[in-house]
């Protein structure tokens, strides 16, 4: 009984929260460097999922036939497509608007999201896709709950991404330059930092993280579809980023886990017939609670 009410939702919450965390870290990266909330972040994940699926299973496009490449090559393609979409967004939308008000860039990212959704509908109509787990094999049982290898990979990758980015920002020249650019762009230029390169790095990295989430999460959550990232990931990831402090990579990591846990605990312990939407309300209550106690979020400072 304990497994159903507590252990199962905790494990599922950790896995799902790890996915939210990946997208949230991407949001934080963009926010740190441009001070803009990226509405297209969810679709970085969806495009990654689509690319991963199609390259794994093979597809035809404009008289070109792409053969089946298998799950791992498909995963690499998914991450690469996410990164490429991030880079294209930077080069053709964000950079030309760099001298415009932030709200203009914000609206532009929303336009990118809707354009990506339209592209996904063209690629996959409105049906759902099931992508295979990267690592199969017998699940192992923890406190009576089956745990898939894919779920462990998701958590492991989030930890790896969080630690890697914390080291990047805290201890490398390039990471410092990225932070400096967000704080004082003119002074950064005067130090010889090329702002366009930092911007490309940030958007490319955020795109790759989104693509990674799109590769890893659908096998765990069941399926993906057009606009999957925006409808199923973006709000949760945004909440995670705000909970974490919006500029903190470890904060986004913790925020993602917290949102995943709260959602799944509410889902398992509140009767959905009497209280539909309990998971979303529970997350909202936690968000408000955290912001009342710590208005800057859990780790609301540069990291």
């Amino acid at each position: 009984m304990l497994g159903v009410t507590l252990v199962t939702p905790i494990i599922l919450g950790l896995v799902q929260g790890a996915g939210f965390g990946l997208v949230a870290i991407g949001l934080v990266l963009i926010y740190k460097s441009t001070r803009v909330f990226n509405f297209a972040a969810g679709e970085f994940a969806t495009l990654g999922a689509f690319a991963s699926y199609h390259f794994s299973h093979g597809f035809n496009i404009l008289f070109i036939s792409i053969p089946k490449l298998g799950l791992w090559a498909g995963a690499v393609a998914g991450i690469a497509v996410g990164a490429a979409f991030g880079l294209l967004t930077e080069r053709f939308v964000v950079r030309p608007l760099s001298n415009r008000p932030k709200v203009t860039v914000l609206v532009a990212t929303a336009a990118i999201a809707t354009t990506a959704i339209a592209l996904e509908i063209v690629l996959g109509a409105t049906k759902s896709f099931r992508s295979g787990a990267l690592v199969s094999g017998h699940p192992f049982v923890l406190q009576g709950v089956s745990l898939l290898w894919q779920e462990l990979i998701v958590i492991f990758v989030l930890v790896l991404a969080g630690v890697g980015l914390a080291i990047f920002f805290g201890y490398t020249d390039l990471g410092l330059a990225t932070l400096a650019t967000s704080q004082e762009p003119t002074a950064s230029r005067l130090m010889g930092i090329r702002l366009n390169r930092i911007s490309m790095l940030t958007w490319g990295l955020a795109g790759a993280l989104g693509g990674l989430a799109g590769v890893l999460l659908p096998p765990v959550t069941g399926s993906f579809f057009a606009a999957y990232g925006t409808t199923d990931l973006l709000i949760a990831a945004f909440t995670a980023a705000v909970l974490g402090g919006m500029t903190s990579v470890p904060g986004a990591f913790l925020g993602g886990i917290l949102v995943g846990l709260v959602q799944n605990l509410a889902l398992s312990n509140v009767d959905q017939n009497h209280f539909p939407g309990a998971p979303a309300v529970a997350v909202l209550v936690v968000l408000i609670g955290v912001l009342v106690v710590r208005p800057t979020g859990i780790l609301g400072r540069e990291a």
Partner: protein
């Protein structure tokens, strides 16, 4: 002395509005040149064009005999031209040490030289060593100015341009910053200081006075400083260390006391003698 920087017919503007109307001047290697003038005279525009922040409309800028007009700041910093911008613009959420580290961005592979440069910065500004782990945004205005200059020095410049070094600083602090500029210059870096504060003339080899985008006076710092008529004509008077080019209210009693109690630095000593004495003493210009 050879000419390090040569400006010919420089024209710069914003949008469709011209600001610099074809100015010419030279900066000699190893000297301190002061660019004086009132607000809107075109001083910041001039250093903005030299440092690559603004694209010239016309004319040429040559550094060490090579054209540099139109180059981007990274290429200029790499060649040894660094601007310390007006308003300090330190990275507020990074520590003092991290700010300094970013100053050496284009030279980050030159480990040994950077180590020496860092030691020198901490020698010029010991307070920065004390505060090295403190976030730059929490420093006082004077400390931020020191950090901005120190960060500029970490790029191993041959020519450092300091825009409004004394803006917002108390007279005593402004004096301290100017004295450090003397030491930086004595240690071999050519300096251009943009100022409204005529007190800087004591620290200048050469002075240029700008008005409405043109250079209306050029001569030695000493000449401009000692010539009452000249100073009145071009700068509107003022003969105190912190007296600005524009009329400023009489300092408050506390400020005046700070000025009076500031370390004596043989204010009336000519610039050339101060520098040679400073070199001999090993701690130039600190008096």
């Amino acid at each position: 002395m050879s000419v390090l920087l040569e400006i010919r017919g420089l024209e710069v503007g914003y949008g469709a509005i011209p600001v610099l109307q074809g100015i010419d001047f030279d900066v000699e290697e190893g000297k301190t040149t002061v660019l004086l003038g009132l607000n809107g005279a075109g001083k910041t525009t001039t250093v903005g064009a030299i440092s690559g922040l603004l694209k010239p409309w016309g004319g040429t800028i040559s550094f060490e005999g090579e054209r540099i007009d139109g180059l981007e700041p990274p290429a200029l910093v790499d060649r040894g031209v660094t601007l310390v911008p007006e308003g300090r613009r330190v990275f507020p959420a990074l520590s003092v040490a991290q700010n300094l580290r970013l100053g050496s961005w284009t030279k980050r592979k030159r480990g040994a030289e950077l180590k020496d440069a860092e030691e020198k910065v901490y020698d010029y500004f010991p307070i920065l060593l004390e505060r090295r782990t403190q976030m730059a945004g929490t420093l006082s205005g004077g400390q931020q100015q020191m950090l901005a200059v120190g960060r500029g020095l970490m790029s191993l410049p041959k020519l450092i341009l300091i825009d409004e070094a004394s803006l917002g600083l108390s007279p005593a602090l402004a004096k301290t910053v100017f004295n450090i500029v003397d030491r930086i210059n004595a240690d071999g870096t050519t300096v251009i200081i943009v100022e409204q504060n005529v007190g800087v003339l004591k620290h200048a080899d050469n002075a240029l006075v700008m008005e409405k985008g043109e250079i209306v006076y050029r001569g030695s710092g000493e000449e401009l400083r000692s010539g009452d008529e000249l100073r009145r004509t071009y700068l509107g008077g003022g003969d105190e260390e912190a007296a600005p080019a524009v009329a400023r209210p009489t300092p408050a009693p506390a400020q005046a006391a700070a000025q009076a109690s500031a370390p004596a630095t043989s204010d009336d000593e000519p610039r050339s003698r101060r520098r040679s004495r400073a070199r001999r003493a090993g701690k130039p210009g600190t008096g």
